[in-house]
Each structure stands twice: as structure tokens, then as C-alpha cells.
């Protein structure tokens, strides 16, 4: 009897694993194995894709001593820092305001999320026209109409990253706003009404009720945002190609260039591993936060 039961369980498990096979196979082949392979190969000198000689940490040493790599790391941190300054806080307050607005709410939601639905590659290219340094660019057109001098925009090496971040914020703030909005909606009016009766002003209500409610999601989004921007790739590729004078090259773009433009795969792998380690730390932090968030909810 017991034996039969065990056999049945085994048969059940077996058929369950067959159903799961496609996903496990693909995740193994396309996510786990490449990371492992990349890790191993980064310690080798490569000829094309064939490892020819074990060189230990030489690839890492080579890449770290390059000035371009230093610029790139700095750039990447600049991307992350600026995105937090420019793009991170506004969606929270936009969501708070949108939650109060009583007219055209459907339209506002529609419009705010609109930039997020077009492919990033297209919106990045669209923004190169908006940032066109000639008088025909949309922004320069507006500046000239207002009697202000035209700007160089993406050709301005000092601020190009800022302008890229602004375009990224344009296409990304909609989804963040919608997420915050749905969290704020969960508060319900009772608490606000009670606060109102107790004489709390609007600002006090935002500060003491709304912000504490969304706080944990804000934290998650913060880590998520850092991880995302750390890997910024499409925007510099499409908008500046890394220029002017490598002022906008990001780590991902550099890794891509080494792999598929300069054809120095070992260096691409070393950069990839370095980014990987930096991001794993952040990812661990994310899971730590997420666990706390889901349990506390």
C-alpha cells in the first residue's frame, strides 16, 4: 500500500517536472549557465571565443588601469545620482496630487503613462530630435520663442548625462506614478477624515498618513531604480553613442563595445563581472527590503 502511494507520488512529481521542463531548461541555458561561463572565462585570455590561457586576474587588472574605464564608472555613478535627484522624488508627489484631482482623472492617467508605452529605443531617438542643437529642435524652438539663447544639449559634455536622465524620466515616471497611486488609493478616506476632524491640515495629512503608507514601496523603488539605471544602455547607445568625447559612456555600453565593436571579449567579461558584483550587493539589499515589505504587509 505504502509502496503504491510512493510510486504515485513519484509519478506525479515526474509529470510536474515535465510540465516545468521548458522553463527550467531555458532559465538554465540562458540565465544561469551564461553567468557561470562568463565568470570562468573572465580569468582566461581569449582568442575569439576560445580560451587559450589562464591569466588569473590579469583581465581585471588591465581593465581597471584604463582611463576610459574610470571615466565610465564615474559616468555610471553620475547617471545613478542624477536619476535619483531628477527622476525619483517627483512621481511620489505627482501621485499624491493626482489622487486629489477630481477632473479628467482618466485622461491624466492616460497621458502620464503614454510615454512609457512607446519602445525605449524610439523615445530615445525621438529625444535626440527634441534636443537637436540647431534651431529646429523642439526645445531650442521653445527657447528661441521665449527670447532665450539656443543650447547645445547633448553636445554639451558637462550636462549630456543630465539631459539623457531627463529623457529617461520622461519615459519612466508614468509607471512609478501609477504604482504609487495604487498604493495611496489603499489608504481609504476614513483615516483622512479622522485626521481632518482632528484638525490636521493637508500637508500634515500627506506627511503623517500618505508618506508612511507609501514609504516601503518608495524604498523598494529606490533600489529597483538604482539597479535599473546602473545598467543604462539603450539611451546612450541611441542618443549619443557614448559621446561627446566618451562623456556619456556607461558600464553596459562599454561592455557592449568591448564585446561587439572592439572584439575584446575577455575585457567585456571582466567589466560584466565587475558590474555584476556591484549589482549583486544591491540585489541582496533589494531582497532584504522586499522580504520585510511583504511580511509587514
Amino acid at each position: 500500500m505504502l509502496k503504491k502511494h510512493r510510486l504515485g507520488k513519484f509519478k506525479n512529481d515526474f509529470s510536474a517536472y515535465i510540465l516545468m521542463f521548458p522553463a527550467i531548461f531555458l532559465i538554465f541555458l540562458l540565465i544561469w549557465r551564461p553567468v557561470y561561463q562568463g565568470f570562468i572565462l573572465s580569468f582566461f585570455k581569449l582568442q575569439g571565443y576560445e580560451p587559450v590561457e589562464f591569466v588569473g586576474l590579469q583581465n581585471y587588472k588591465d581593465i581597471i588601469s584604463e582611463t576610459l574605464f574610470k571615466t565610465t564608472v564615474l559616468n555610471t555613478f553620475k547617471y545613478v545620482g542624477l536619476s535619483l535627484l531628477v527622476g525619483f522624488i517627483p512621481p511620489i508627489f505627482i501621485a499624491v496630487m493626482l489622487n486629489e484631482v477630481r477632473w479628467c482623472k482618466g485622461f491624466i492617467k492616460f497621458a502620464i503613462y503614454f510615454p512609457a508605452i512607446s519602445p525605449v529605443i524610439v523615445t530615445s531617438l525621438l529625444w535626440t530630435f527634441i534636443y537637436d542643437p540647431s534651431a529646429g529642435g523642439l526645445l531650442n524652438m521653445i527657447l528661441l520663442k521665449m527670447g532665450l539663447p539656443a543650447q547645445q544639449w547633448l553636445n554639451d559634455a558637462n550636462n549630456a548625462i543630465l539631459y539623457i536622465i531627463i529623457s529617461m524620466t520622461w519615459s519612466g515616471f508614468g509607471s512609478a506614478t501609477i504604482l504609487y497611486l495604487s498604493s495611496i488609493k489603499g489608504i481609504g478616506t476614513d483615516m483622512y477624515e479622522a485626521a481632518y476632524i482632528d484638525g490636521a491640515g493637508l500637508w500634515a495629512r500627506v506627511w503623517h498618513i500618505t508618506i508612511p503608507q507609501v514609504w516601503r514601496i518608495v524604498l523598494l523603488m529606490l533600489v529597483n531604480n538604482i539597479i535599473g539605471v546602473f545598467q543604462v544602455f539603450a539611451q546612450p547607445l541611441a542618443m549619443t553613442g557614448g559621446g561627446p568625447n566618451n562623456a556619456t559612456v556607461s558600464l553596459s555600453l562599454l561592455a557592449y563595445r568591448y564585446a561587439f565593436v572592439y572584439l575584446k571579449n575577455e575585457k567585456a567579461l571582466a567589466i560584466g563581472m565587475i558590474t555584476f558584483v556591484m549589482l549583486v550587493v544591491l540585489t541582496l539589499f533589494y531582497f532584504f527590503l522586499e522580504k520585510r515589505v511583504t511580511y509587514e504587509d
Binding site: R33, M97, S118, T275
Partner: protein
């Protein structure tokens, strides 16, 4: 039907809304929102209008906002001369495969982990979750090796859509979405089916599939959109007539007259926009499905 003016979720209470001060604050909020809407829509509107200008007008100083005339033959010309139709067809084909792979592979796995729970699946799920957020730039080169020289068989998969399809089938985020959706289906459905002697696969097709049409729809929409903008692996792997729109929009830049290029960009934005207009509710609802996802 009366239009609903009051919104039950706001912090401004019904009574308070009658005071002047709060009305002004609400007015300011509304103005800020309208300004935001303009910022969101203006670049796109500008793109559509500029697409109709001819090159001379496009670069004219001082520039104009509205095109002088709307010439529809230019639309047809731009469409046919750049074989946009063929590229759109390719992209749709790729997107359809992406959707199929993502639903079948991630859906089945989500179902197994959520419902059948074979031994070891918990550990597997934890592993999958841990790898969900891993950065992908370390795997670029090994993946390229995998696609051009497939393990064991040695196949070269470039100039096919299989690499993109397989990547769509290994989407841990959708797997998680499916799993949490199946978690929410009432257990009694499964128990009664089991008593009736249904096999795992039968339970999936007869019970799970019909119940999960909403989540399948949402994931299909998202997958279509991401396929429509997919440029990375196509750019590296496809260099013949099978090219998709994401990679072509990159290579076309600088090869075309500027106003025609803007028109191609407008073409590209139309399908996702139409889908968004039709399925707005599902898309915005789907965003908050998995909790937090940037």
C-alpha cells in the same frame, strides 16, 4: 448617469472641498497635472506633425510647429520605399513567438510551482527568484556564444527568431506573476478535479487555462510591447531580410532624410499606442499586478 465628480480615495474631504482655500489648492494641482499631460503628449504630437513637413520646412528657421500642408502620398512613399510593411510583419511574427514562448514556458512553470509543488520545487523557485534581478551584461558574450554555436548540437541560430523566443520563455518576472496568480485560484477547483481523476496536464488545460485568461491577456500585451521595441539581440544576430523594427530604427538613423525618418518613428509608435488606447485599463491594472516593478 451622473458624472462622478467626487473621488472616494483623496485626502481632501467632501466638506472641506467647499472652502475657497482648498478649492485653490485643488486648482493648482489640476493645473500641474495639465502641464504634465502636455509635457507627456507634446513631443509625440510634435513628432507626428513634423513627419508631414518636407525636409526644407523641417529645417526652416524660424521653425514652424504646424506643417504647411498634409501630404498623404509621403506616408505611402515612406512606407513602401523602406519596406516598413515587411519589417512590421517580421516584428509581429517575432512578437507572436515571444508571446507563445512566454505563456507556455512561464505559465506552466508558474502553475507547477504554485499548485503541484513537486519535491524540490521550493528550492528551485527560490533559485529562480534570486536570479530574477541579476544584471545581464555579464552574460552577453556567453549568450552570443550560445546562440551562434548552440551547446551539443552546434547550431547557429543567427538570422532566426529562436534566440529571442527562448529568452522570452525564460522570463522569471512573468513566471512569478503566473505563480502568484495561480496561488489566488481557489483550491476546491483542483481538489474536485483530482477526485474526478484528471491528470496534471488535463487540469491545466481544463481548469487553469480558462480561469487565467485575464493574466494571459495582460502578459501578452506587455510581451508584445517589449517585442516591438526589442533591438538588442536582433541587432547582434539578424542581418538579412528578417530584420525587425527595433534594430532597423537604429540603423536607419543617418541613412534617411530627417523628415522621413521622423515619419518612420511615427509608424513605429502607432501599434503600441493603438493597443494602449484599446487596453488602457488592462495595461494600467497589469502594472500593479506584481507589486513593484519599475
Amino acid at each position: 448617469m451622473k458624472t462622478k465628480l467626487s473621488d472616494p480615495t483623496g485626502m481632501i474631504c467632501q466638506l472641506e472641498f467647499k472652502t475657497m482655500k482648498v478649492k485653490i489648492i485643488h486648482g493648482i494641482f489640476f493645473a500641474v497635472m495639465m502641464l504634465l499631460c502636455m509635457i507627456c503628449l507634446l513631443p509625440v504630437i510634435w513628432m507626428f506633425l513634423s513627419a508631414f513637413k518636407d525636409t526644407k520646412e523641417f529645417l526652416k528657421i524660424p521653425p514652424s510647429f504646424l506643417p504647411e500642408k498634409i501630404d498623404f502620398s509621403k506616408v505611402v512613399d515612406t512606407w513602401t520605399q523602406n519596406s516598413i510593411g515587411r519589417t512590421f510583419l517580421n516584428t509581429t511574427f517575432m512578437a507572436a513567438g515571444d508571446i507563445l514562448f512566454t505563456i507556455v514556458s512561464n505559465g506552466l512553470a508558474g502553475y507547477v510551482i504554485s499548485r503541484l509543488k513537486p519535491r524540490g520545487s521550493k528550492l528551485l523557485f527560490m533559485l529562480i527568484m534570486w536570479t530574477m534581478m541579476l544584471p545581464n551584461n555579464v552574460s552577453q558574450v556567453p549568450l552570443f556564444m550560445t546562440f551562434t554555436d548552440f551547446p551539443v548540437t552546434g547550431w547557429n541560430l543567427s538570422n532566426t527568431y529562436l534566440p529571442m523566443w527562448m529568452l522570452a520563455g525564460a522570463n522569471c518576472y512573468y513566471l512569478l506573476l503566473f505563480k502568484s496568480f495561480f496561488d489566488s485560484i481557489s483550491i476546491s477547483f483542483f481538489e474536485s478535479a483530482k477526485i474526478d481523476g484528471a491528470t496534471n496536464f488535463k487540469m491545466f488545460t481544463r481548469i487553469v487555462l480558462p480561469l487565467s485568461i485575464p493574466i494571459i491577456a495582460v502578459i501578452s500585451i506587455f510581451q508584445f510591447n517589449s517585442a516591438w521595441g526589442n533591438y538588442f539581440w536582433p541587432m547582434l544576430l539578424i542581418n538579412n531580410h528578417m530584420q525587425v523594427i527595433g534594430q532597423r530604427i537604429l540603423t536607419m538613423k543617418g541613412q534617411m532624410v530627417i523628415d522621413r525618418y521622423v515619419m518612420v518613428m511615427a509608424f513605429v509608435i502607432i501599434p503600441p499606442s493603438v493597443i494602449y488606447i484599446i487596453f488602457q485599463r488592462h495595461i494600467i491594472g497589469g502594472l500593479t499586478l506584481g507589486g513593484v516593478k519599475g
